[in-house]
Amino acid sequence: MDRNMIVDTRNMNHWFGTGEARKQVLFDINLALPRGSFTVLMGPSGSGKTTVLTLLGCLRAVQDGTVKLTGHELHGASEAELTRLRQRLGFIFQSHNLHESLTAMQNVVMGVQVRARVPDDLARKAAAVALGLVGLSDRMDYLPANLSGGQKQRVAVARALVGNPDMVFADEPTAALDKDSAADVVDLLKRLGAERGTTTLLVTHDNRILDRADRILTLEDGKIVTVQEHA
């Protein structure tokens, strides 16, 4: 494996169901994502994009093939190993999934404290920086109920990025954002890739993002059908 590749899959297959209901949803996925790259995953509904995201994001057990993430083999990894690996990843979901009883600051602090017991003042400082990056310095002590949809999504972005993850998995992260906010978030992810080596794998239908991607993968019926590399 090329050590510069943060993701390297060989013949990754996946099935859902058992017995006669068993259905293959991914077919021989071969994928190599360089560290710091920004990759967009596209495809029609049901093409397997989410399954790829959940497998590479250590949220599902790999059933078949070789799947390496930051050099760790995911096929056969225990639940505890997958949990540990997830601590090095950032997730941005289509729905913000913020904790309703925690303020914006506290939600982002949760992204810091997952790896170790970080002193509270340091965790808060890191969270304040992350919230500043997404333009929410003046909303840190707001509960999610008092934030707009776009603001909530930006808090979720800050939570995903605050721990300096090796890789960010994002599912339609700009769907709830206006044009400027969406551009800011994508630029932020790109900048983190350049400055910190954070790799991004992003599922989207948002055409505004496509021209910013280093690579666009198109998935159909569980197979990668096209790979577009941008200079």
Binding site: T83, F91, F93, L98, E100, S101, R117, R159
Partner: protein
């Protein structure tokens, strides 16, 4: 509170924040836990009261060994014992004295109130068999139809009872006799009667014509100072011809009476079940609250799972919630429970009160069962699958 808990857990007190986020639900949950605590406190209070009331009359006497009829499960229950066995017992070199104790219920009518007095007939010439609170006045009983009355008797106003003295006696009719109480002692109503009364054995026999001086309810024995009571009990069991008699140390007799009241009498069993029901109600309430809370926050928990938080983190949140509910629910439960017991004690004159032992026991039980409920509720966390978030 948030800062204290944050310092205590070394992380954000998510459980606390989650519980207090919806104030109405939080207060309802605390009320539920407090209600369960009150149930347990009241039942435990009654159980303790029964124990205190059962053991109370044993405190009136000063004996080492008690000989009773085979069916005498309690002090005021069972048949009689022939006085001749006392004479056999006195043949043991370590038994220094013996006396017969007569017990019966005597009714006392005051206006519309029927009062039941547990009446002890004792030999006034044997003050050594009585506890100091009675022994000092025992000489009064040398006079026929004189009584020493329990001033805490239910149905007799306290001020009236407290005013009873040799110069201001209290006369009353019972068992077809007129008795005169010329002094009092502090007993207290129990479950078997409203109060106690001491009379001489001769007065007792005149009140209860069917009773015989040769057959008291129990025989009390005193032994040499420093003698081994259990060894003497064993010897007496061999010495006394009637092998059906219950020959026990006085302390054992009291404890056997207590066990009988708690485990064989319906009242004891009912109060025991009451405690169990209270515990189960508390367990169910805390489980329901925590389980509903887990269900409400399943997406958030799934998000935390995706972020890399492990099972111990989630267990910590649920246990934190259980502790908050248990501890904060206990405090109002303690206050209300103490108030109810005090009120019930005043109304019934039963020895009902909140004791430090009860408070500590219920607190520990509340915390343990709350945590247990929390641990059970964590099983619902399995439904939080982070893969479903995408």
């Amino acid at each position: 509170m948030t800062i204290v808990l944050q310092w205590l857990f070394g992380r954000l007190p998510i459980g606390w924040l989650q519980l207090t986020h919806k104030r109405g639900r939080f207060i309802a949950a605390l009320s539920g836990v407090a209600f369960a605590n009150v149930l347990v406190f009241v039942q435990l209070g009654i159980m303790n009261s029964m124990a205190t009331a059962t053991l109370k009359p044993y405190e009136f006497f000063n004996a080492d060994i008690m000989i009773s009829a085979p069916d005498a499960n309690a002090l005021a229950e069972g048949g009689n014992v022939a006085r001749q066995w006392m004479l056999q017992a006195l043949a043991d070199p370590d038994v220094i004295s013996g006396t017969g104790l007569f017990i019966a219920k005597a009714p006392l009518k005051r206006g519309d109130t029927d009062i039941s007095l547990t009446t002890f007939g004792v030999d006034p010439g044997q003050p050594g068999f009585l506890a100091p609170l009675i022994a000092g006045d025992i000489a009064f009983l040398e006079v026929q139809h004189v009584a020493i009355l329990d001033r805490l008797t239910r149905g007799i106003p306290r001020d009236e009872a407290a005013a009873i003295r040799p110069q201001s006696p209290f006369s009353f009719e019972t068992q077809g006799r007129t008795l005169t109480a010329i002094t009092t002692f502090a007993g207290g109503g129990g479950f078997g009667g409203d109060g106690y009364m001491f009379v001489s054995d001769q007065t007792f026999l005149s009140m209860f014509g069917a009773r015989s001086s040769t057959a008291p309810n129990h025989i009390l024995l005193r032994v040499q100072y420093g003698a081994d009571v259990s060894a003497i009990v064993e010897r007496l069991r061999g010495l006394i011809s009637d092998k059906t008699l219950r020959i026990r140390s006085y302390a054992d007799a009291a404890q056997e009476d207590l066990r009988y009241q708690q485990t064989r009498r319906p009242t004891g069993i009912i109060f025991g079940f009451g405690v169990l029901i209270g515990v189960l109600v508390g367990l169910v309430i805390v489980y329901q609250v925590l389980s509903a809370d887990v269900a409400d926050h399943l997406r958030e928990y799934a998000t935390f799972k995706a972020m890399g938080y492990g099972p111990r983190f989630f267990l910590g949140i649920i246990v934190e919630e259980a502790l908050v509910l248990g501890i904060l629910g206990f405090l109002p439960g303690l206050a209300v429970g103490a108030a109810i017991l005090t009120l019930m004690g005043k109304v019934t004159t039963l020895p009902l009160a909140m004791t430090p032992g009860m408070a500590v026991t219920v607190f520990v039980g509340t915390v343990v069962f709350s945590v247990l409920s929390g641990v059970i509720a964590t099983r619902r966390l399995a439904a939080a699958d982070p893969a479903d978030l995408f």
